[in-house]
């Protein structure tokens, strides 16, 4: 009886916890968010995998789980249409057109300055909609070369100029982000009323 006070052995186990919830990698958490959005968009709840029914569910889910934009806050927060890494999905939620472009919460003419994983920072050359400030950082899964997808987005290159549209913190692929072109830029400006 050398130990008059017996500690709870579970206290020792608690102290040996190898993973602290507060120390999880932020990039990992961001990837989970993107994946979550994709799940909600591509797979209707209560249905068998493989059937597709997109709509308000996707938009509402995206609204609730949107990531924070570092600079320049887009207004609405729907979902990211481009596949997140590793899933192999290649669908576009909406086909690109000037009409569907008008559904995006932000659109701008920007030049890539920093690419960090799926996170891309643009300097804003001209804001058409939903962007304030001189720079904006967005998630662009499938467009940074970190994963191979067939989502129809360009591989963004630092220093290159693009027309970028999307929702929440996500740049959409499928034509909603494309290399800058004067004629297309004029169309965007006209369609978005800037």
């Amino acid at each position: 009886m050398s130990h008059p006070h017996e500690p709870d052995p579970l206290d020792a186990l608690r102290a040996a916890n190898p993973v602290n919830d507060d120390d999880l990698p932020s990039a990992s958490l961001a990837r989970l968010r993107a994946r979550m959005q994709e799940t909600v968009m591509n797979e209707p709840h209560g249905a068998r995998p493989g059937r597709r029914r997109l709509g308000l569910a996707a938009i509402a889910a995206g609204a609730a789980i949107a990531l924070a934009v570092v600079v320049g806050q887009p207004a609405a927060e729907p979902a990211n249409p481009s596949p997140s890494p590793g899933t192999g999905s290649a669908s576009c939620v909406e086909s690109y057109s000037l009409a569907t472009l008008a559904n995006r919460s932000f659109a701008f003419d920007g030049t890539v300055t920093v690419i960090d994983g799926d996170s891309v920072t643009f300097t804003v050359n001209e804001a058409y909609r939903g962007v304030s400030g001189d720079a904006v950082t967005l998630q662009a899964p499938g467009m940074t070369g970190t994963t191979i997808t067939s989502a129809g987005g360009p591989v963004l290159v630092s220093g290159e100029r693009y027309l970028v549209a999307g929702d929440a913190t996500f740049a959409w692929a499928c034509g909603f982000t494309q290399r800058w072109d004067a004629a297309v830029a004029a169309e965007w400006s006209g369609a978005l009323g800037s």
Binding site: S2, P9, A12, L13, L24, M36, A61
Partner: protein, 190 residues
Amino acid sequence: MGQPDNRASQQLAAAFEAHHRRLLAYALRRTNALSDAEDVVGETFAVAWRRVALMPPAGQALPWLLAIARRVAANRRRSGRRFLGLLDRLQRVSSEPAPVVPTSPASDALARLPSTDRELLTLLAWDGLTQAEAGAVLGISANAVAIRLLRARKRFAAELDAIAKGSDDDRTPAQAKGMVPGRSARDRSS
């Protein structure tokens, strides 16, 4: 159909916001790589989305989600063993190193326990669940949890003692005879 879909997606989103960190921590403790842990959590929410009608309110959804994650992780471990066997044969290594799990007497003692004991104890000590919540994850009653916990706690304490005594043997004969752990021979002589 827009309104029900909207509610369902908001419900799932609320559960995600409330619990994705704890789910990732849970998965990371049970897998060998961060990418595997992300896959477990991603698949967990995919399953949750398919069964969202059965999901408890977000604030109470953690045990339900952990139960899914537990099954997903188990399935991945089974397929992972096959895959790693193939990798071994090909003499390839993963590009993402396994997380370094710091060793301690407690973690060593835990490793010596049966898997059922380990699972229950870590749900309580690491995942912060109540006994009732742990029972929900494991699919057993609260009464069964209490009985299993009593035994697991005893076994864990016994292993801790055994390790402490083994460590003492490694240090000095005096400590091995039951002296206060951690005191050096010079301390005791003073």
